[in-house]
Symmetry: D2
Subunit: 304 residues, 4 copies
């Protein structure tokens, strides 16, 4: 399989299509990003590392970090995690409170905001220095020490994140948040503020294609059975209310963020990251989705 | 991979666990089935055909037939199908009208009852003799001529299927049913009444593991790209409100029916059918789910 | 209180305002009505009978008849009625299935379609000749023999009433309809098809302003305590999703129909009927609401 | 009408019925109240003032204060209030977020918590010293200077009021709260903490039975037309998800609080207050509802 050629071809195609979608506008830091940015990077188990476009430029990974915080919580607590958060697609926009009301404070899955808040709460209760420990965990995944929170992003979100404040307090009133909502929200906004490039991302997520083992130092981050479950969750719940569409068109487990990034995993093969900041109406990168659809179609590789 | 040994081991384990769950009770024909029945059958691309327990006994496949009617509609109409039915998990019980109300008559996916009614309507509008043509299509998939509707099942459902009558008329009032609801319902109840054994089922669904091509006569039923999409749909939407759980625990695309049957596909490898009539609270076979979870765990094979 | 003068003044004012709203369009018989029609008629306990405009022309009273069928059921069964239908405002459009799903087939109140279907079912189970008996009941209220069903209206509704078919079958599947849905729907469509003039209506509903006693022959149709409850129900539930607005602006118990008619009751004083076929977005007569608001403002009479 | 005798009879009857319901438990201050407390007081326009039982003991009026804050906002802003909050019954429990999500941050009415938060926000934006000004307004209604906030109640609510924090932030994210949520919540918790006796309450609310004019100093607090509207709102929305039931059984506009108090108004006649802390499942005083039902039945006086 000539990944490089396929990536080049699809990149060129998608790059030439008309700009569509809109930048995430709810905080200035995301609205001010250059909307023409477009980058892609693949890391394969066979050792290929290849990128095109703006693949070395850092961007706000936003919800993509929810996979990483979940991996850390799952590593520490195993199945207990699922007592407090479900594994079902939500069938609702990513920040819906309706579902939460019906399910008495148990979020449908760990990738909607409500679920990620519960995971943040779990980490707060189980880590000595949550902010630092999470960063160390992420750095250890690919040996990349250049991973950091963005203070400007997180403080910007903190100042206007009323909906997340609502979510967190709502879950708290059902008893499914242990710590004070303000502390949970602080940590949550921090973890959403992490900035990485496509190159960083694909290297960092490669362990999920490798049965849970890192490539650079061969450590078992998650057991194979747990790794499969994380991938399954990304498949069914990784794209807000568009998860079915992504499975349908792309056919890979993955996770998107409102910063315009997407990570996708082909178990046993590779991790691939795309970034293009303009979002479709469901909040996923317009070009990112297009690129990955083209990529799995041309490579005739998907898990299905 | 010694599929036979793994199947034997898991079958023995699951067979010995306490009976749990309840028979589908809404029509006498399903409630009267012997609840101890338990069968499994695998058909692999490598030519293995192996079954245990009651794998040769026919049972009512119910919603499993929704995959087959969808395949026929998709073969005939291609992408047009998705103008009338979505590809997203519903996040709601399988017969919910709430979602339908919000989405103005567009069912979330073709595997909830609402979606299957729309697919039935599409077939009615596009086939000369829908009942006969669908049967011929199904028979052609594995060359098995012994596939039939069950009049007792379908007439039983027709006499008490008030909720489906409600669903169909509700969709009609939004304009997403072309034919008269009574005709659509008749055809729908017929297609749910098909009876097959585990052995029949795994043979019949094997083309979905084979890039859309039949094994017995090498015909391309669906293009590979369409086949992948059917598999993706089964992954995200095949188990009502438990699709995430099935992806999470079993890690294969599949489809269940309230008759207690489950079909699962490992693309490029095999199709496997299980039958045990007692259902868990979400309407999926209790032992069937257990068996498949054990099977993919021991075989260390899943798509993730 | 010079009712006649106030009615004349408000009638003139409202008649001069620009046409707004739209005719009920779902059946041709309603869509073809002359949209400029406007009539009003009052009947007081003190013996005043006064009308203006098209007050002698019959129109389709539609949902207004739901009050009459309820009165008959309540007369026959007393409190048992409330085991099968609630007394709470729905907070949802008049034909919503969502609420019904949540409440397991118990409609929120007898004036939404779902509730009126249950009342129709009750009458079917308790009357010898439901269609004839209901007509006789209505005729007896004011001694007016000229009350009839409209075959053209009812057969028109029967041919396209998919949403009501959905509603009725949905309630049936929860067990809250005793008879076959087709029979219930038939009777329901008949009772919605009754045609009356404003003059007929105010005479007929006057017993609800008179503690449940008819004026023309002094018979106690409903006990005073039951009459108060019917009025209370009209106050809180009589105007679909606009009942609060009507209470707020008009301040009288009442009931509207999509034919553009409204009946309002001032207990101890009068019954007043208005008709103007153009409906506001919530399905109530645009001019009818305006007229009644003006009338209670100028007369400084409301129950509050 | 011998109000005193009727009150005595009904009070005796209701006092003798078995205790039912449960104390509001979410804050200790309410859970620790003596559940046997039972008091009633009437104030009529004809000058009768009569109480029985614990009618002179102060209790936490909780949501009853929402009528008072609304009156002040309506007095100041008139119709503008209704741009930000609806006048329709909610058809949902008193603290639902679902409705709010659907209606984009516009609460259904000013008596659900969401609506009262918006009214609190309006007062914050329009008063110089909101806490003091509101207290002065309430004191002026009956000339009673002994009206105060309870610091223990409000600080108790502030410490655990997660659901209200959620509600307020949720409305804020739709733009329908102008001030910072923390400030709005502070003021809201204060106004819910007011403590009054039945005697205080009936005197204070008597102006709503008197066309908006106080009895003690003859000042027009609200215009008659506005007063009618406040009464209409209490009728359709005053009892959470049980407003229809209250209209149906009692037939008077009124408002309840989770402290177990109820105020009811008979326009043109009287205001009556009841207090009994045990609540029915819908959050309204069990004995209070019983008493008022008996009272309007025996007095044969209701607005219907």
């Amino acid at each position: 399989m000539d990944f490089k050629k396929i990536i080049k071809d699809v990149f060129k195609d998608v790059n030439s299509i008309e700009e569509q979608g809109a930048l995430a506008s709810y905080i200035p830091e995301l609205a001010n990003v250059n909307s023409k940015k477009f980058g892609v990077h693949i890391s394969t188990l066979s050792g290929i590392n290849f990128g095109l476009g703006d693949f070395q430029e850092k961007f706000s990974i936003q919800s993509i970090s929810k996979v990483l915080s979940l991996c850390l919580a799952y590593q520490m607590l195993s199945g207990e995690v699922w007592d407090r958060v479900g594994v079902e697609p939500s069938g609702n926009p990513f920040n819906s409170l309706t579902q939460l009301e019906k399910d008495r404070g148990i979020p449908r899955n760990p990738f909607i905001n409500a679920g990620a808040l519960v995971i943040a709460d779990i980490l707060l209760s189980n880590l000595d220095d949550p902010k630092k420990d999470l960063l160390n965990f992420i750095r250890s995944l690919s040996g990349n020490q250049d991973v950091n929170y963005s203070t400007s992003i997180s403080s910007s979100e903190k100042s206007i994140g009323y909906r997340n404040v609502a979510l967190c307090n709502f879950i708290k009133c059902f008893g499914n948040i242990e710590n004070e909502p303000d502390k949970v929200l602080d940590f949550y906004f921090d973890l959403c503020s992490i900035e990485l490039s496509c190159k960083d991302l694909s290297a960092l997520f490669l362990f999920l294609a490798n049965n849970g083992k890192t490539m650079h130092d061969n450590r078992q981050i998650l057991l194979p059975s747990k790794t499969k479950r994380i991938n399954a969750l990304m498949q069914t719940c990784g794209f807000y209310d568009e998860s079915g569409e992504f499975a349908f068109k792309v056919g890979l487990p993955g996770k998107s963020g409102v910063g315009g990034g997407i990570i996708a995993i082909h178990p046993g093969q590779y991790a691939i990251a795309v970034w293009s900041p303009q979002l479709n109406p469901k909040g996923n990168s317009y070009k990112g989705m297009k690129f990955l659809e083209g990529f799995t179609t041309l490579s005739e590789l998907s898990i299905f």
